[in-house]
Amino acid sequence: MEIGTSCEVKGLSMEKKTFKIREYFFCILVFVLSLIGFLVSVALFREHPEPDSAAVFPTVTTGIMMLTSFIAVLQVRKNCPELTEEEKKADFGGNKVIAAIKEEMPLNSFVLAVSAIAYAVLLNVVGFYVSTALFMAGTITFLRRGKKIKQTLIVTAVSLVVIFLVVEKIFQIMLP
């Protein structure tokens, strides 16, 4: 199975087979987070119980978020795509939960997201240009699966020069 792509089993898309598990998980997670937000807002409202206090708006908004996310949970079954008999019989190519995770965030997206987090953290540690060089060279090399490395390094170097000239010299924005 090729890495960095959504899983495919016997030519059939995992998207439909894992839809229910992924959708339920996400909508329930969103509901739980909204509920937590609502409870925190209610606690704030208890400290400031006036009808036009600072706690009213957060309470109303988190309450509506709770309601809408709850309805979204109820609608999951209705929105589930129809599976053909063949699709129902096909297995997940392994563990159902692992298949769902791979479909939810394929390797390319996962690596890019983690790289972006590392990039943001490194900004204050090694500075903008070093962290940007590492990020660009690393992610482009990964997305190309190690091919055309020379071109990747040239693109990275040229991008850094252009950013320096345009952002720092023309727009006068000082980067970390």
């Binding site: 600072a54 009213v56 509506i64 190309r144 950013i163």
Partner: protein
Amino acid sequence: MENLFTLFLQPELLLYLAGGLFFGMYAGAIPGISVTMAASLAISFSFGWSPMPAIATILGVHIGGVYGGSRSAILLNVPGTPAAIATSFDGYPMAKKGEAGHALTVTAVQSVVGGLIGALVLVLATPLLIKFALLFAPRDYFMLAMLGIFLLSSLTGDSFVKGMFCGVLGMFLGCVGMDTMTAVNRFTFGNVNLMSGITSIAIMIGTFGMSESLFQVRDLRNVTVRKQKLDRMRPSIKEVVKYFPLTLRCSLIGAFVGALPGTGGDIAAIICYDHAKRSVKHPEVPFGEGAIEGLVAPESANNAAVGGAYVPMLALGIPGDSVAAIIISALLIHGITPGPTLVNSQPQMFYMIIACIIVGNIILLPVALTGIKVFAKIAETPKEILLPIIIVLTVIGSYAANNNVFDVYVMVIAGILGYFLKRHDFPVGPIILGFILSNLLELNLRRTIAMCYGSVSELFGQIFTSPLSIVLFLILAGMLAMQTPLKQVLKRKEKAD
């Protein structure tokens, strides 16, 4: 009236406007970079400038970006922006027949004509709406802003419930920080960076830029880069005159749709394409196979919608679309409050915005007809290189707002959250609208509660004794009712009849 010529008394503003047009056009032309993303980046780069050059640049980005999406729609069959989806229906078939140059010329000319008609609507309608706006009570502002969120929630994505969730999520994120009226800290968790609230630019760039990059990188195997042949392009006055009745109708529809809070060029373009199919009975080439009318309708509508979007923004302080929402953010950053008082408190800014929209649409024609071959090369940039570059730009953009790395963290979190929301068909557009309108909504909600002494009966009494409030309330209630199972019951009854 002399304020309308501010733009010409400061010629450097024309350069900023043209620069914004250029940047917006190329950004809009590249699939994966939306007009909203480009405008967000433009705000962050122009943060330290004085207000007029900054606003002129962002307006240029808006006008250029809406047109720019048609380039990749025609050349690559990949709309650069949602507003260009309808353009690809007939634009790409024309390109396949070797008429890409002609298609690009038609879209450029129609964008200009539509944009000018939209600007005319802006000039005529805004003063009327301002007079009307002075009749709005706080409850009316609240209901109108909620109408914008309802509209965007129902028109984007397949699920109104998911759209509403996102709109209200945006409203909630907008109230994080210290309350300006009572200094109460809300959801700051002791973090000093959150006390002044979440930076709007970080949320915008994260949800539109970062999340889209994470989404598009999922499977790069299916991306194909097509090469195109292009010949000389010359606008034809005869063609403009021939299609002018259709252009005029679609521009007026586009300006009206653009003026509705929460809707924009994408919806205007689809509505007008459908209108053209119904009203043009015998096109020379069938729709979907390269009909010129299939380009005239959406392109004139989506650029007219730009002018329309500024009508409620200037008159009421409520954005007509997501880019106008970003412009409001830019105005607020520069200490300018849009709304009915802007024309009196800052007439130069008010008229400069109108002048930029008029002049921007005129400058668009020569800008649009240049650099097609250069664009074709840029559009062929592999996604493996383009997407990491976009992420670097989002980092720069979010940092530049306050020179604070915390905003970069917020942007990355918003981007990852936006990715998962999109993955599950939660539309991210309403998040931005809700965020931008959050202060307006909360202020008017609290004023409304204060005016009715916290009594629900008093509130409804006030609503039902004001004709404007009744109309807004009924529209809101009707929209909400149509999203419930009642809609299905009515449909079934209709079918049975």
